[in-house]
Amino acid sequence: MPLLAWLTLAVATVTGEPFAFSSVVKIYVTTQPPNYAIPWQAGQPGGGTGSGFIIAGKRILTNGHVVSDARFVQVQKDGDPRRYTAKVDTTLIGHDCDLAVLTVPDESFFEGTRPLSFARAMPSLGDEVSAVGYPMGGDRLSVTRGIVSRIDYGTYSHSGIDQHLVLQVDAAINPGNSGGPLFFGRKVVGLAFQGLVGGENIGYAIPLPVIQHYLTDIADGCYHGYPELGVAFMDTDNPALRAHLRLPETAGGIAVTYVDPFGSARDLLRARDVLLTIEGSPIASDGTIQTDGSRLVFAELLERKQWGESIVLTVWRDGAQQKIVVPLTNPPDPFIYRREYDQRPRYLVVAGLVFTPLTRSYLSMPSTDTGGDNGFRLRYVSHFAKLDKLHEGIDEFVVLTRRLSREVNAYADPFLNGIVTEVNGTRIRCLDDIRTALDSPRDGFHVFRFLGSEDRLVLDATTLPETDRAIRKAYGLDRQERLGEER
């Protein structure tokens, strides 16, 4: 887990004011991420340290990844021997933007500190910035200095799939830096959050707009996350394509190639629509817009929106232009495969066979990567479920993840990592469906079918309750299933 932090404006330029350092805190975390291979257990406690800084409202801003799956969190100011217990409200963790806030019940913690203030605008390329935090290599506060090397779009590794603006800096960013502020002058312009393995002098910070988006989002006491428009598109540079779409020579625009069934645009846009403007800004044929003196990808305008707001698009459809207002209210998407945190895995054990929904956390387990055909099918399904319409009619994919060996399941190995499609003749749309289907055995048997296979797994329904009891006892399962969402 990359932990970073930065600092370094020459202390002289800070004119000796102890403004910042007392507000940059060290965070001690004990985490307990669940093990998706043994989902009935709570997981192995572990821990580490990160950084954070005090912001308005007696809160500490840090990375989502520093406090995800946390069981116990303490914060400490530089030069203060005391550690204070801090609280994480998991509903306020922004897993898609890797940000979180902590509170400290003992308000004396905040004595002598001042909330750090944010800059009004992003720094420019080449601007000198400092990172402050508590990285590896020592116990006390560390300050490093560098310049803004790049302002770009990048993947946030905490969720594994979300892309937002990132600030790349050339100061060392090391484990422990995570959550620490990035200063331009006396103002915070970013929050150090990840490094790049194999690169040199490449560190990344979450920039101001993303931080502000997050703080605005949680102002109502709940985190909604970035809204998703849910379209794939191609550029319209090709003159023959433009002619085919009957696009005016000068119109620019990007052509919609796919509309995600879980995106905000699901009922409003369609393939072959050409997006001409977004919020009044013309979209060039390569998908960029001109704003604030620089060209940005059009999605950055979308990034400024909160969930529940609307976005105004001008769309070229059937040879004419029309205005479409898209309310940014996408439903939860069970086929997106973000990494999950602060959730107990759902599972169901039948005759020692462990079934779970397909999740990114499960996909990253080594057991899915054994080189077997089922493992490759999982990989394909997780990439192409929606594009290839495999998701239709189901709520989630249910996978047979492992077997707790016992006579009753001695022949189940070929089915491991298989996606369950049918149990006792009932189509499986979600994990709970298996539980329901088990109420209707066929002639005394439970019959399971799997995606892409004519083979079937057969269990003796009459001996099942007894077998389940024996397996629970032998493998120390406190419960046979966890079907609902739990924290």
């Binding site: 191609m234 090709n238 394509l241 919609v256 490759f376 192409f384 083979d455 057969v458």
Partner: protein, 490 residues
């Protein structure tokens, strides 16, 4: 059946038991070159490999198919001789890893003695492996056959009968003959120095290959046309209505083929094959080799066209099903392997390279191709490669875009499945050529799950095609076979 085959074979090759085998040993030096797996208009780097073969008579050498795969030129050397004798491939069958070479007619008379083959291989059989040492003298090494089984070939996705041979000789080339008592017992296919174990094609397979090589057209080896799985689980057996407890395997996928050749269906339980009981792991009792996989009975003992009665249980009822053995042709597959690297058909229009997906194309992504290649194409290959919905279906892909002004905007779209051209559905390259010829050009390409067609400027195409050919050094913008290949081997 075995007796019959042996009889035919002895007529074919009059046995002359002697120690002549060593003097029939030949080094086979192969210069190979494949079509480039990704750029079908050009060839890959030359390869040069040396292995062995053995002369069966003055005209014929037998060696492994893998050694001579994609051979552009083959030279033979006798022990202690520098003279190189040209040879050509007469027949090669990747399904059993065997090839016959014709010794060049211009070569001096060779006076090879006729070679006999040994009887069926058996375990613990002592054997001698022949090869060249560094001074091209015959080097012999003792070995022992330790196992006979149906095993996947290492360089082709087929199972064949193979023997494990334990030997201290560091086998230095494939095709090295294995002899016993002056008779050919097999050809080495591979050798692991660390484990001191190699695999050989046994005489049993060689005998059948030679016998079938006499038939025109070459009938090849038979295939069942379906896949099956072991049926040990007692609960599943009860569910399927089986009354015995040690026989039968369950049929999974059945390959499409001409009507009437097979009446086997998924979830049938096969209890016997041609009167031989099949156990619940898929083994039968072979008269020569003992307990062997059902695949041996079908592929090694069966013949294409043989009628077979299969005892099955279907829907809990026992019945006999008649079936006729067929040969599985690579060309029948949705995704052919194209192991031989035959020049694939392609069409380049406006820099868009259109071709069919093959196993060889996927393998070209490296040893870890299952992870490296496009997950969608890999999934198609792993789950559906042998099962086209209709005969003749292939996966037509946009494999590559050669950047040019005419294809601006499309250059990131490759490894995608093409579903239609000019609005007309596409099932294989035949459709592609037909549409191109009827319409005069490909100007609209529909790609799976991409809602916007790629459109090319028809008027600009001729100039763009010429420019692309010149710029990228492409001698021909398409390759179309004149006729559909009737046989996998010449």
């Amino acid at each position: 059946m075995n007796l019959l085959a042996a009889a035919v074979f002895s007529l074919l090759l009059p046995a002359a038991p002697s120690d002549a085998t060593a003097s029939n040993l030949l080094q086979v030096i192969v210069t190979s070159q494949q079509q480039h797996p990704m750029m079908p208009w050009q060839a890959s780097e030359l390869g040069r490999t040396a292995g062995y073969g053995i002369a069966l008579d003055n005209r014929t050498v037998i060696t492994t198919e893998h050694l001579v795969r994609n051979a552009k030129f083959i030279e033979l050397r006798r022990p202690r001789s520098g003279t190189r004798i040209p040879a050509t491939v007469r027949l090669a069958d990747a399904q059993v890893n065997l090839a016959l070479l014709d010794i060049g007619t211009g070569a001096a008379p060779s006076n090879f003695a006729a070679i006999a083959t040994d009887g069926p291989s058996h375990k613990r059989q002592p054997v001698t492996i022949l090869q060249f040492d560094e001074t091209s003298q015959v080097q012999e090494g003792e070995g022992q056959v330790v196992q006979i089984m149906m095993a996947p070939l290492s360089d082709a996705p087929y199972a064949s009968l193979a023997c494990s041979v334990l030997t201290d000789l560091n086998v230095n080339g494939e095709g090295a003959p294995v002899i016993t008592e002056g008779r050919l017992a097999g050809l080495m296919m591979s050798y692991s120095r660390g484990e001191r174990v190699g695999h050989m094609v046994p005489e049993f397979v060689i005998g059948r290959f030679l016998e079938r090589a006499q038939t025109k057209p070459y009938p090849g080896f038979a295939s069942a046309g379906f896949g099956w799985t072991a049926l040990v689980d007692p609960v599943k057996r009860r569910y399927l209505g089986l009354t015995n407890d040690d026989r039968g395997v369950m049929v999974l996928s059945v390959l499409p083929r001409a009507a009437g050749t097979t009446d086997i269906k998924p979830n049938d339980v096969i209890l016997s094959w041609g009167g031989k009981p099949v156990d619940n792991l898929g083994f039968y009792e072979d008269p020569d080799f003992g307990r062997m996989d059902l695949a041996c009975l079908i592929k090694m003992r069966g013949r294409v066209g043989d009628p077979v009665t299969v005892g099955i249980v279907r829907d809990r009822k026992p019945m006999d099903v008649p079936l006729s053995l067929v040969q599985r042709e690579d060309a029948e597959a949705l995704i052919p392997e194209d192991l031989e690297g035959t020049p694939v058909e392609y069409l380049i229009e406006g820099g868009l390279v259109i071709r069919e997906l093959t196993g060889r194309y996927l393998y070209a992504h490296g040893a870890d191709w299952r992870r490296a290649a496009d997950p969608r194409l890999v999934n198609l290959y792993l789950s559906q490669k042998l099962r086209p919905e209709k005969p003749g279906d292939r996966v037509v892909i946009l494999s590559l875009v050669l950047p040019d002004p005419i294809n601006i905007g499309y250059q990131d779209l490759f490894n995608r499945t093409i579903t239609a051209l000019n609005g007309k559905p596409v099932r294989n390259m035949g459709d592609v050529f037909r549409i191109a010829s009827q319409d005069g050009a490909i100007e609209r390409i529909t790609i799976e799950a991409v809602g916007v067609d790629l459109v090319l400027d028809r008027d600009a195409l001729p100039a763009a095609n010429a420019r692309i050919a010149r710029n990228y050094g492409i001698p021909r913008l398409f390759h179309k076979r004149t006729a559909t290949p009737a046989e996998p081997a010449p």
